[in-house]
């Protein structure tokens, strides 16, 4: 067993072309939305959404439906519940804490009943080995495009509402509608991320890169750019490193993402 093996690398790369495209898109989406996850204090909510997304995917697998579709349904249901009941940060945390085990439990039930390939089961929780097929890639491209375009269009008002909700509302920003839209985008981003890194590790794409970027930048332009760079580096790097060893990509993705965070903290410390 080796952690890194690059002997047949040239032949392997074409096999993961789909994964690389997916990784690039996810890095872009995760890095950007992560900045808002941080400013709106929603890290824990992301984790909660991903567990319900997992449950949705697991049931889809069991019943023979489209797994990405199941994942999206689970995500959106969770995002809607958290958005509706958890307008205040304190309420939100308890609601997430209640939803999370419920989702995870249902998901495990569905997986236990499923009689197909075991690799599919664990993939949902801990990430894929590097297998994104064409229909799956199509779904990911569609989801990521919707999230990206919408996020860019609402960027300024969402920033305003995230920083100073009262002043934003006074200027006519539809703050409640925006927070609903944001929750839906977050749900979609989570559902997409679950496909690649698995439900348990979604935070490594949607939170860690943005958290790292915030350590070294205070600019509203540089921060999202760095966050995207960190997220893309983590996913693409993770896929390329995992390739040789034939292991799941998630440990590589999470480790790179974590190391970037540590480095950013060190840089912050040194700068001060």
């Amino acid at each position: 067993m080796t952690l890194f093996d690059f002997s047949d690398y040239a032949e392997l790369i074409p096999l993961v072309q789909n994964s690389l495209i997916a990784g690039l898109l996810l890095g872009l989406v995760g890095g950007l939305i992560g900045v808002f996850v941080m400013t709106r204090d929603m890290s824990f909510a992301v984790h909660g959404i991903s567990e319900l997304s997992f449950a949705g995917a697991a049931f889809a697998l069991l019943l023979g439906f489209n797994v990405v579709g199941g994942s999206i349904v689970g995500s959106l249901v969770a995002a809607a519940i958290i958005g509706y009941l958890g307008a205040k940060a304190k309420d939100r945390n308890s609601i997430v804490a209640v939803l999370m085990p419920a989702g995870l439990g249902l998901g495990i039930l569905a997986l236990a009943l499923y009689e197909g390939r075991a690799a599919n089961k664990f993939g949902l929780l801990t990430g894929q080995i590097v297998a994104v097929d064409d229909p799956q890639l199509f779904w990911l491209i569609a989801i990521c495009s919707v999230v990206l375009v919408t996020l860019l269009v609402i960027w300024r008002p969402l920033t305003f509402a995230s920083v100073d909700v009262e002043v934003a509302a006074a200027r006519g920003v539809p703050t409640r509608a925006l927070s609903t839209v944001f929750m839906l985008l977050l749900g979609l981003a989570v559902a997409a991320s679950v496909q690649i890194v698995g439900a348990l590790l979604v935070l490594s794409l949607l939170v860690t890169p943005a958290a790292a970027a915030l350590r070294v930048s205070k600019s509203p332009v540089v921060t999202p750019v760095l966050s995207v760079a960190f997220a893309v580096t983590s996913v693409i790097g993770g896929i390329l490193l995992a390739l040789g060893a034939g292991l799941p990509i998630s440990p590589y993705v999470t480790t790179i993402s974590f190391l970037i965070y540590v480095i950013c903290r060190v840089i912050e410390k040194v700068k001060k």
Binding site: V153, W155, R156, P157, T159, V167, P220, V222
Partner: protein
């Protein structure tokens, strides 16, 4: 001349409870109005009605002759001081820019014009040294200074301020109040200033709107802030004491805190 703000025969009630009724008020350009009253007397609700966020039970509110609606660019708003999370990726100058284009949807490109406005306002509120600081690391006084700038950056005709001095110390209160006074003159804006303590702004106030028990009085500070006027308004004996240019209202339950805040 068209008044900046015209409140016509306005009433606002939630169910059985009437906050105020038959309120008539016209505000001229550059006028400075203090809105004073107990907690729950409908001060903030009045601001919300002017902002078009709260529907009146009766009557009308017009801004520059047009019905009040949400998102009017004729209004600048200054909220109560609240700290901003220190991890927020935003510098002081970025916060000012939100006052120019923060409400606009569409791809977030910044224009040269808004850069110019930001630079101008940084000068106005004496914040060049704060421009590149993280907003989460600013002191209360610094943040409120920026919020004054943010409220005037889009050249509003009317500034609404909701307890903007609360949580600031006395020295800072003075600085922010004077800055607001200066800015509204320079930018030709009228001010509606909601506060529970009129003293920091007493010298700049043209008229007072005093809300209590579903009733109100409007007039100059000398006309309204008198024992007999407020006693009648509250329906219980109230003393207005003046000392060294400061005003203290004694005898209303809701003004107990003045005992701590006004005598220093």
């Amino acid at each position: 001349m068209t008044p900046v703000l015209a409140i016509k025969n306005a009433s606002l009630a939630f169910g059985e409870r009437t906050l105020w009724s038959n309120l008539n008020l016209e505000i001229k350009p550059q006028e400075f109005i203090a809105v004073i009253g107990a907690n729950g007397s409908g001060k903030t609700t009045l601001l919300k009605a002017i902002l078009g966020q709260e529907k009146l039970s009766q009557g009308e509110i017009e801004i520059n002759g047009k019905a009040a609606r949400s998102g009017s660019t004729s209004i600048g708003y200054i909220p109560q001081h609240r700290t901003i999370d220190s991890s927020t990726p935003m510098r002081a100058k970025d916060m000012l820019r939100l006052g120019v284009d923060g409400h606009k949807f569409g791809f977030p490109f910044s224009s040269r014009e808004s850069n110019k406005k930001v630079q101008h306002i940084l000068g106005c509120v004496d914040a060049f040294d704060l421009a590149d600081k993280r907003v989460g690391e600013l002191s209360g006084g610094e943040l409120q200074r920026l919020r004054v700038g943010q409220a005037v950056i889009d050249e509003p005709d009317l500034i609404l301020a909701d307890e903007p001095l609360s949580a600031l110390d006395l020295a800072q209160q003075k600085v922010i109040a004077e800055l607001l006074d200066q800015e509204r003159r320079d930018h030709n804006a009228a001010v509606i200033f909601v506060t529970h303590d009129v003293n920091p702004i007493l010298s700049m106030v043209d008229r007072v709107l005093y809300l209590a028990n579903g009733k109100f009085r409007i007039g100059t500070p000398d006309e309204v802030l008198r024992s007999e006027v407020l006693s009648e308004l509250y329906g219980t004996p109230v003393d207005v004491v003046r000392n060294q240019g400061r005003i203290l209202v004694v005898g209303t339950q809701d003004h107990d805190h003045h005992d701590h805040e006004d005598w220093h």
